[in-house]
């Protein structure tokens, strides 16, 4: 029905512009809420969610109870929800649309699906009309025909869909998130509001996960804690460690540290009703016997160090603990960088400096070179004095220029100007690395001076 027609029928009709992106975002949020039932959740179409509940049903007291809870959960978001459980995702989707609240037991799919109308096949309009003209009303009409006839008339797609809905073919869902290596979870009969209790539960989950990791001979590198709040908010907290670990106590400590330092603190609100701990990444870790001998050992030191890295990352953020990395380039601004400590490659080749010379590169480098005002005697000489941050510096010693051309093969046009670097020292003994951008020969642009780094 067109909008004009609808308005003619009902003059006070309220209309709202369609917002498919907002709908998609909302559906994504709804899918996160459904993750409390199973980690395997997929979005189906514009308005559907498919949950693979294999092996999860007993946690919720049976299929009907689980379906009821899921629907109630989504209804609390203000949605009108229809649900169904079947052996294949396609059958479940068809039931949810055309036979609400169906719970098809094993081998019941086909009998129940036969009664569905042909529109359950989700075909385009032309095919739907063609099906109607041919006198097909229900799936049973189609199911009894030889499939090669149907595919000759209506296409392969229709036959494939028919088989999936009838449960003859099983195509698993592709979950939104990769399933974890290991998982432990706890659902509470009543929402839990005390953070202390939550941490106690977390300690138990950690124990459980740690035991299973030990059985596998592995240690976890990356964990995720998911908190499901009663009002539908889902909070994820990632914990990363510097080396494989399966010590429950230290993991709980890390989780506590992480929660204490979150910029947006965990708010229990009306309470959490489920807690899940997942291991996303692990690596082999062999059991070590505690040392009987006195004194620290290299392994102990390495463990203490890994522990420190974990604590610092948990407290100050992964992006704030960094190590230096070298890049193979002559451009000083790019040659030395920093990368996250946990992800950077520790084995780097560092060039050895030339013996007998003072340092040729500054200890610290400004991300953005600082403009300075300069008085130079002759065009190609180092400055006599310069002003930086309103301070005047008299130059007493200077060395240069060291001409560094930009990496024109990397940069987009226009290529940046060539830089002439000078190592200079002022009367107070402070040493600077400054450069002149552009050349005096170039009549089009006035060269500018910048301070790029500081020497000790």
């Amino acid at each position: 029905m067109a909008l004009a027609e609808a308005r003619a029928l009902w003059p006070n009709l309220e209309t709202e512009e369609a917002a498919p992106e907002a709908d998609a975002r909302f559906l994504k949020r709804a899918s996160e809420i459904c993750e409390m039932f199973t980690p395997l959740v997929a979005i189906k179409g514009r308005d559907g969610l498919a949950l693979d509940i294999t092996g999860c049903v007993h946690l919720f007291g049976g299929e009907s109870e689980m379906l009821l809870r899921a629907c109630r959960r989504l209804r609390s978001l203000g949605l009108t929800t229809f649900g169904a459980i079947a052996s294949t995702p396609h059958a479940a989707r068809a039931f949810a649309r055309y036979r609400r609240n169906t719970i098809a037991g094993p081998a019941e799919d086909e009998t129940l699906a036969r009664a569905l109308p042909v529109s359950a096949l989700d075909q385009d309009q032309a095919t739907s009309i063609a099906l109607g003209r041919a006198g097909f009303r229900t799936l049973a009409d189609l199911a009894d025909r030889p499939s090669h006839m149907l595919s000759a008339r209506f296409g392969e797609d229709l036959v494939a869909r028919l088989h999936r809905i009838l449960g003859r073919e099983d195509l698993r869902i592709t979950p939104l998130r990769t399933p974890p290596l290991l998982m432990a979870e706890r659902h509470f009969p009543e929402p839990m509001t005390q953070m202390e209790h939550l941490l106690t539960v977390l300690a138990r989950l950690m124990d459980d996960v740690a035991n299973r990791l030990e059985a596998r001979g592995e240690g976890g590198r990356s964990f995720e804690l998911t908190l499901f709040r009663a009002d539908g908010a889902v909070r994820r907290i990632g914990i990363e460690t510097a080396s494989g670990t399966r010590e429950a106590a230290s993991l709980v400590r890390l989780a506590r540290l992480k929660m204490e330092t979150l910029a947006d603190p965990v708010d229990p609100g009306f309470g959490f009703d489920a807690l899940r701990l997942m291991v996303l990444r692990s690596e082999p870790l062999h059991a070590v016997q505690a040392s009987l001998a006195e004194g620290a050992k290299p392994e102990d030191e390495a463990r203490a160090l890994a522990d420190l890295v974990n604590r610092l990352v948990a407290r100050f953020g992964r992006e704030n603990l960094r190590r230096l990395v070298s890049r193979d380039t002559h451009d000083p601004a790019l040659a030395g960088g920093m990368a996250e400590f946990l992800s950077a490659n520790p084995a780097m080749a560092w060039p050895a400096p030339e013996a007998g010379q003072p340092p040729a590169r500054p200890l610290t480098l400004f991300a953005h070179p600082q403009p300075i005002e300069v008085l130079a005697e002759v065009p190609d000489s180092p400055p006599l004095r310069f002003r930086w941050r309103r301070m005047l510096h008299e130059v007493t010693r200077a060395e240069g220029p060291e001409r560094i051309a930009p990496e024109w093969w990397r940069e987009a046009s226009p290529a940046p100007a060539t830089r002439d670097y000078y190592r200079i020292e002022d009367q107070a003994g402070h040493r600077f690395w400054i450069f002149r951008e552009g050349l005096y020969e170039d009549r089009n642009s006035q060269p500018r001076w910048f301070l790029h780094g500081l020497f000790p």
């Binding site: 080396s243 494989g244 690596e283 620290a296 102990d300 030191e301 390495a302 203490a304 160090l305 890994a306 522990d307 420190l308 604590r311 407290r315 100050f316 704030n320 603990l321 960094r322 190590r323 230096l324 990395v325 070298s326 000083p332 040659a335 030395g336 960088g337 920093m338 520790p346 560092w350 060039p351 050895a352 400096p353 013996a355 007998g356 010379q357 003072p358 340092p359 040729a360 590169r361 500054p362 200890l363 610290t364 480098l365 400004f366 991300a367 010693r397 200077a398 060395e399 190592r423 200079i424 020292e425 009367q427 107070a428 003994g429 402070h430 040493r431 780094g453 500081l454 020497f455 000790p456």
Partner: protein, 264 residues
């Protein structure tokens, strides 16, 4: 599984210098004890680059090949730029041994320093604080000093644009960048500093020395001792042995003087 921590490469990055069991000695100055808190103050705010370099160099000698945790306040990125790996190499430091932590304020820096000082796997913890901050008080310094004593990890604390206040530090130093001895054609020479001992627990205060950092030998050399050597045409490789200076001698000659040549 990758070995952790990464093994330090042998060769040029192996720290040498006068590091005994009890601590590191800088030229003629008193020993910096391991397992203690040492404070370094910049004489002028502009000396911060010299202070970072100097303290890192001392830290590397103290660390004896183990990793260093370098805690920097965010203000440093703005005021002094960020650490530059090729420059650290050129200064004679091993970038691979550094863990650099960026923190918001002094309070966070002190927390991180405390965490680091409790970790026996570290070689040294180096904290850099910018400006006066009430977070660093007697209690905070006492906490750091106790942690360092318990774990044996030396703690170096650099303060820039701040006045020295009573603290539990073992020693307190003031650092000032000095004009270097020029190379040929008035080129800047080896990094030079003046280090003054403001306070020491064992009472030998007021000592000071003019130092030059030789990154090839990874050593601070007293300039009064090396001044007599010819510096031209290029700087000679300086010997490892250090002649100590007696304290009652007059101050070193003004650093601006060009190195003297020995007659005959």
């Amino acid at each position: 599984m990758q070995a952790y921590p990464p093994p330090l490469r042998q060769g040029w990055s192996a720290p040498s210098g006068e590091a005994g069991k009890e601590g590191a000695r800088i030229a003629s100055l008193p020993i910096l004890a391991r397992a203690a808190l040492h404070e370094f103050y910049a004489a002028r705010a502009a000396d911060h680059a010299a202070l970072s370099g100097c303290a890192l160099a001392i830290g590397q000698v103290l660390a004896q090949g183990r990793p260093c945790l370098w805690v920097r306040q965010e203000a440093f990125d703005r005021e002094a730029g960020h650490p530059h790996a090729p420059g650290l190499c050129e200064f004679g430091l091993d970038p691979a041994s550094l863990m650099i932590l960026r923190v918001k304020d002094a309070r966070a820096a002190l927390q991180a320093g405390l965490e680091g000082a409790r970790c026996a796997g570290l070689g040294v913890v180096f904290l850099e604080l910018w400006g006066e901050d009430p977070a660093y008080d007697l209690t905070a310094s006492r906490r750091l000093a106790l942690a360092a004593r318990a774990s044996g990890v030396p703690l170096l604390l650099a303060r820039i644009a701040a006045k020295a206040r009573p603290s539990a530090a073992e020693t307190r130093w003031e650092l000032r960048a000095l004009p270097s001895r020029a190379l040929a054609a008035q080129a800047p020479g080896l990094p030079a500093f003046e280090l003054t001992l403001l306070r020491a627990r064992n009472g030998r205060e007021g000592l000071h020395d003019h130092l030059e950092w030789n990154r090839d030998a990874r050593q601070f050399l007293s300039r009064t001792a090396t001044d007599t050597r010819p510096a031209e045409p290029a700087l000679p490789s300086l010997p490892g042995a250090v002649v100590s200076v007696s304290f009652d001698r007059p101050r070193a000659p003004e650093p601006d003087l060009l190195p003297r040549r020995e007659a005959g």
